[in-house]
């Protein structure tokens, strides 16, 4: 089965399978649910201590930020960890040597990771409502699912670009740890970007979580429809996707030459 329909079906099948595999993994459940709840609690207490600043919007702001921190962590560990795990299980070779395009398989896997990460947004919102009395509201309820979808796709595409290095190098998942905290900070998930040094701005513009967060916050607590961050999410997703495809051609050729696919 070829063509766009066949490609979409492949991405969908891999996405469903990846979600199933993540749900059966305690590690990913903890990363996606428990870790953001802990971070959210810390953030809620910090904002409460801040006194007047802890308005209802501030709590929602903090909940969404910590939720997105969880999304990024799950995407990163999902992309890196899943490939390291597949290499260890011996399934990576099977995927690479299958007749279907491996870039579509990788796209399904990383999209699965970013979607699964959205558990953390639900978890932190529920946590904030139940324990901290945070009201849940959306300024643009119709745009909220669009913003969520755009963020999932952009983060998944960024995960895919990073994952290409995991296919080549067996120890590349160490990069996951290196990229987790800096991206949280640089993309404004922890504190507003306006409070960070000006030189960080251009870096943050190139990273999907920045616009994903902008889009989701815009749809919930914003005063204007967040069309710009939604469009930028999609533009970045296309750029990441094209870059990942180019890199993947090189990476797979090198992996066949250097015999690194089966090294666990």
């Amino acid at each position: 089965m070829n063509g766009a329909r066949g490609s979409l079906r492949l991405v969908w099948t891999v996405w469903v399978f990846t979600m199933k595999a993540f749900m059966a993994s305690e590690f990913f459940l903890l990363t996606a649910v428990l870790q953001p709840v802990i971070f959210a609690s810390i953030a809620f207490f910090l904002f409460r201590i801040g006194g007047d600043a802890a308005g209802e919007h501030t709590l929602l702001y903090a909940a969404l930020g910590t939720g997105m921190m969880g999304v990024w962590s799950t995407t990163l560990f999902g992309a890196g960890g899943a490939i390291a795990w597949q290499r260890w299980e011996g399934t990576l070779e099977l995927l690479v040597a299958a007749p279907r395009r491996y870039d579509l398989v990788l796209a399904g896997q990383t999209l699965g990771a970013s979607t699964f990460g959205f558990y953390s947004v639900i978890a932190t919102l529920a946590w904030g409502m139940v324990l901290f009395g945070m009201p849940l509201r959306a300024s643009f309820p119709v745009l909220l699912p669009v913003a969520l979808l755009a963020a999932i796709i952009a983060l998944g595409a960024m995960g895919m670009l990073i994952a290409t290095s995991f296919v080549l190098y067996r120890h590349a998942n160490a990069l996951s740890n290196l990229l987790e905290y800096p991206v949280w900070i640089v993309t404004g998930l922890v504190v507003p970007l306006a409070t960070l040094p000006a030189w960080i701005g251009p870096i943050s513009w190139l990273l999907a979580p920045t616009w994903g967060m902008e889009a989701i916050r815009g749809a919930t607590i914003g005063s204007a429809p967040p069309w710009l961050p939604i469009v930028l999410c999609m533009v970045l997703a296309v750029v990441y996707w094209l870059l990942a495809r180019v890199v993947l051609v090189y990476v797979l050729n090198k992996a066949r030459r250097d015999a690194t696919l089966s090294l666990a």
């Binding site: 089965m1 891999v14 399978f17 070779e93 099977l94 040597a97 007749p99 696919l261």
Partner: protein, 342 residues
């Protein structure tokens, strides 16, 4: 009724070479090259069951990985169903299935049927055909009733059967089996051999590696023995046995035999080769000679005070031929290396 073997080659390897580059040391890294395959050539005819035999590290898996497009050859060419394994990777991948022995290669945390559904999509099985095909394969490998259980709870035999079902999902014309019966119990291994026979009867071309000589002897149409990255013999099981056909194997069960005693037997002018097999409490000496039982008394005398159990003489098997081939090719390789150093 078996489908006929035709003359058209399904697999062709021509002077295949594969060198691995790695390094030693941590601070002062020194690059080293390991030649895993050193110029292998063979053809597998369409519908044939071809065996690749050799000791660990002989180059069998490397050869298979080049043929299934997972590794690029350092030199030489290979074609599967007429398609080049380097240039026409997608065309080759659409026509081959491969099964590696052992526990790896499955998603443990999901069910067997979920594994098959996933790979069916990856192998491009038509969506309308997937459910029927998966059900038929589950029946073929005998996993009915267990397919919805998580793979992590499967026995090794069940995992191996699931591997085979996965390898057959897209009904490939050529099947590569890399030590498929490794770790299986005798019943599981017999069932696997039956499955392989069924596939060959249906017209599939199979290239199989194995360590079990009786398996190769029972199943394979032709066998290539590979050692040190080179093919040292190629032919039918009978062809390979012909080298040792004029010999008799005397099996001597010994208890507490010393290396010196074995060396004395080995030094006897009538003895061609001596191999040993460890058993639980004894050691079996397999003495190859052209004289057979006539020299038995002399052999027992050479063993001195060693306690002797049963002594049996028999015709040589494929395993004896294999051991002879590996031993002689190893000696030749050592001699060549010594000559090149000199």
């Amino acid at each position: 009724m078996r489908a006929p073997v035709t003359d058209s080659p399904a697999i062709e390897a021509i002077d295949l070479v594969r060198t691995y580059r790695t390094h030693t040391g941590v601070i002062r890294r020194r690059p080293i090259s390991v030649e895993a395959v050193r110029g292998i050539s063979f053809q597998v005819r369409s519908g044939e069951l071809f065996g690749l035999l050799g000791p660990n590290g002989a180059g069998k898996t490397t050869t298979i990985k080049m043929l299934i497009t997972l590794l690029l050859p350092t030199a030489g060419t290979a074609r599967v169903m007429g398609f080049d394994v380097v240039r026409d990777t997608t065309a080759v991948r659409q026509r081959i299935g491969y099964v590696f022995g052992g526990d790896r290669g499955l998603y443990d945390r999901v069910s067997g049927i979920d594994n098959l559904r996933y790979f069916a999509e990856l192998y491009g099985v038509d969506p309308g055909e997937q459910a029927r095909r998966i059900a038929a394969l589950i029946e073929l490998v005998g996993l009915e009733g267990r397919q919805k259980e998580k793979v992590e709870g499967y026995s090794r035999g069940m995992r191996q059967r699931l591997h085979i079902a996965r390898g057959l999902l897209h009904d490939p014309e050529v099947l590569f089996l890399d030590e498929p019966s490794i770790g299986l119990d005798p019943v599981g291994a017999r069932e696997l051999r039956q499955t392989v026979k069924t596939l060959v009867d249906a017209g599939k071309t199979v290239l199989m590696t194995t360590h079990y000589m009786f398996e190769a002897d029972a199943l394979c149409d032709r066998i290539a023995v590979i050692n040190g990255g080179r093919i040292v013999a190629l032919g039918t099981g009978e062809d390979l046995k012909r080298d040792v056909a004029n010999r008799t194997i005397v099996e001597i069960e010994t208890f507490g035999v010393t290396p010196e005693a074995i060396d004395r037997v080995r030094a006897d002018p009538e003895v061609i080769a001596v191999n040993t097999e460890e058993r639980e409490q004894s050691e079996i000496l397999l003495v190859q000679s052209a004289q057979g039982l006539q020299i038995t008394q002399r052999l027992l005398g050479l063993l001195g005070d060693t306690r002797i159990g049963k002594v049996v003489a028999r015709e040589p098997t494929l395993e004896d031929a294999y051991v002879h081939l590996i031993a002689t090719s190893g000696e030749e390789a050592s001699a060549t290396r010594a000559a090149s150093v000199a």
